[in-house]
C-alpha cells in the first residue's frame, strides 16, 4: 500500500461531482428498501428477494465495473499512468493500493446501502450480516476482475459488460454448469450459508464458493500487478 497512490486513486473515482453520482446510485438501493417497507403488505421474504435481484444481479456488477475500471482505466487510456509507473514503487503495490480504494468505494456505496435496505425491510441481524458479507465478497471479486481486465485490455468496459449482462444473467440461467463460474452465484452461496434457511437459495457449494472467491481475489491481484509490469502503452484507435 502506498498512501499517495491511495489518495490519488480516491480522488480519481470520488473527486468532484463523481462522489455525488455514486451516492445517488447507492440511494437507489436505500429507496427500494424504503419503498417496499412503505407498501408494507408484502412479506419480508418477498422484499428481500427483490433486493437480492437488484443488488446481486445488477447493482454489484455495474458498481464493480464502474469503480474497478475507474481506478486505473482512464489513466491507462490517456497515458498519464506513465508518471505513476516511472516512480520507484512496485507495480504490485500500485495495484494493491488502487484495489483498496475500489473495494472501499464498493463497501461505502454498495455494501452498506444494501445492508441499510435490508434493515429497513425488517430483516433480522443474521440476514443483514449475510447480505453484507455476500455483497462485499461479490464486490471485491468484481473489483479485482475488472481492474485486471482494464490492465490487460483497453476494451475492459465492454468485455466486463458482456460478462456482467450476458454471461451472468443469460448463460447462467440456461446452462446450469455455467453457474459455477458466476461471481453472483458464489456470493449468493456465501449469503445463503450465513442467512437463516430459505432466505436465499444457493447453486454452488459454500466451500467451493469461498475457495473460488479467495482464489480469484488473490490470483487476480497478483496477475494484475504482473501485467502492469509489462504494460505496453499504445493507442490502437
Amino acid at each position: 500500500m502506498n498512501r499517495t497512490i491511495v489518495r490519488l486513486a480516491a480522488r480519481a473515482i470520488l473527486g468532484g461531482k463523481r462522489v455525488w453520482l455514486l451516492a445517488a446510485l447507492s440511494l437507489v438501493l436505500v429507496a427500494i428498501g424504503v419503498g417496499t417497507a412503505a407498501l408494507g403488505s408484502g412479506s419480508s421474504a418477498a422484499s428481500l428477494e427483490a433486493l437480492q435481484a437488484i443488488a446481486f444481479s445488477t447493482f454489484l456488477p455495474l458498481f464493480g465495473l464502474i469503480v474497478g475500471t475507474g481506478v486505473i482505466g482512464p489513466e491507462i487510456d490517456d497515458g498519464s499512468i506513465v508518471h505513476l509507473l516511472a516512480k520507484p514503487v512496485s507495480r504490485h503495490t500500485i495495484v494493491q493500493s488502487k484495489l483498496a480504494v475500489a473495494v472501499a468505494a464498493i463497501l461505502g456505496f454498495a455494501v452498506l446501502p444494501t445492508m441499510v435496505a435490508a434493515v429497513i425491510m425488517g430483516a433480522d441481524a443474521a440476514t443483514v450480516l449475510a447480505f453484507g458479507v455476500g455483497a462485499l465478497a461479490a464486490g471485491a471479486v468484481y473489483c479485482v476482475l475488472f481492474l485486471l481486465l482494464s490492465v490487460v485490455t483497453r476494451h475492459a468496459v465492454i468485455i466486463g459488460l458482456v460478462y456482467a449482462l450476458v454471461w451472468e444473467s443469460l448463460v447462467g440461467s440456461v446452462i446450469p454448469g455455467a453457474r459455477n463460474v458466476s461471481v453472483q452465484q458464489w456470493a449468493l452461496s456465501v449469503t445463503a450459508s450465513i442467512a437463516p434457511d430459505g432466505v436465499v437459495t444457493a447453486n454452488v457449494g459454500v466451500a467451493l464458493a469461498w475457495f473460488l472467491i479467495v482464489a480469484v481475489v488473490a490470483v487476480g491481484t497478483w496477475y494484475a500487478g504482473s501485467r502492469l509490469r509489462v504494460l505496453v502503452l499504445a493507442s490502437d484507435d
Partner: protein, 305 residues
Amino acid sequence: MSSPDVQGPDAAHSGVIHDIGYRGYTGPRLERRAIAVGLYTHTLRGVFGLGRSAKSKVVPFGMAAVMLLPAIVIAAVSVVGSGQGLTEPVLAYTRFAMTTQASLAIFLAVAAPNAVSLDLRFHTLPLYLSRPLERPDYVRAKLAAVATAVFLLLAVPLLVMYLGAVAAQFDAGEQTVQFLQGLVGAALFSAVLASIALVIASLTGRRGFGIAGIITVLTLTYAVVSAAQGFVAFDAENQALAGWLGLLSPMTLVDGVQVWAFGAEPSSPAGPPPGAAGAVFLAAVVLLVTACYALLVRRYRKVKV
C-alpha cells in the same frame, strides 16, 4: 510567379498569412443541409465501424449478430412449426426489443460515445462549425444517426421474423399488421434510447465514463423497475401502482405505449393501467425525447469553439 489577377486573394484580405499563388475554389459550395446529411451518414457509418479499423466493428456487428440469431431461430421455428399447428411466431414482434435489451444496451453504450465523445475530447467541433453548419444541426445529425442505427438493429431481426412468418403461411394480413406495429415500437425505442444515450455521452469526453453511464441508466433503471413492479404487483397486490412504476425506466415506458396502443402483451410484470393511462405513457415518451433534444442543444451551445 504569383498572378493576383486570377482570382487570387486581393490585398484587402489581410487574413491571408502566406500566399503561394494557388488558385482558390470559387465554385458552388454545398449548403448547410448537405453538410448535415454528410455528418449524418458519416456518424451512421462510424457507429457500425464502417470505414474504421476491424476492432471497432467487433461490438456493433457482434451485437447485431446476437440480436439476429434469436430472430433466425424464431423464423425457423415458425416455418417448421406451421406444419404442427403453430399459427403465429413464438415471440410477438412488439416483445423483441424487451427480450434482447441487454445487447441493445451494450450497442448503445458503445455507439453513443463513439458518435459524440471523441469530437468533444479532441475539440473537433470548431472544425464542423467553421462551415455553414449550426450547432442544432450537429445535434440533430448525431441524434438521427444513432436513432437510425438502433432502429436498423431492431428492424432487421423483425423483418427476418416477418419473412419467416410469411414463409410459414401464417395469416398474412394479421402478421403484416403486427409487423408494422413492431416497427412503430422499434422506432419509439430507438428515439427514446438514442436521446437518453446521447445526452449522457455528450456530458463527457471520456468514452469509458460515457459507456458506464449509459449502461447504468438503461439496465439499472430496468432492473429496479421490473423488480419493484413484480413486488408491488404480486406481493403488495397493487396492480395500478405497479403499472405506473413503468414510467420510471425507458424500456418499460416504451413497452407501456405498445401495450396501450397495440394491445400488446406487456414484457414486464405489469403493463400500464387500462384506459387513458396509456396515453400518459405516450405523452411521457414525447416529453422525454423533446427534453433530451433541448438538453443536447443547450449542452452544445456551451461547447467552446
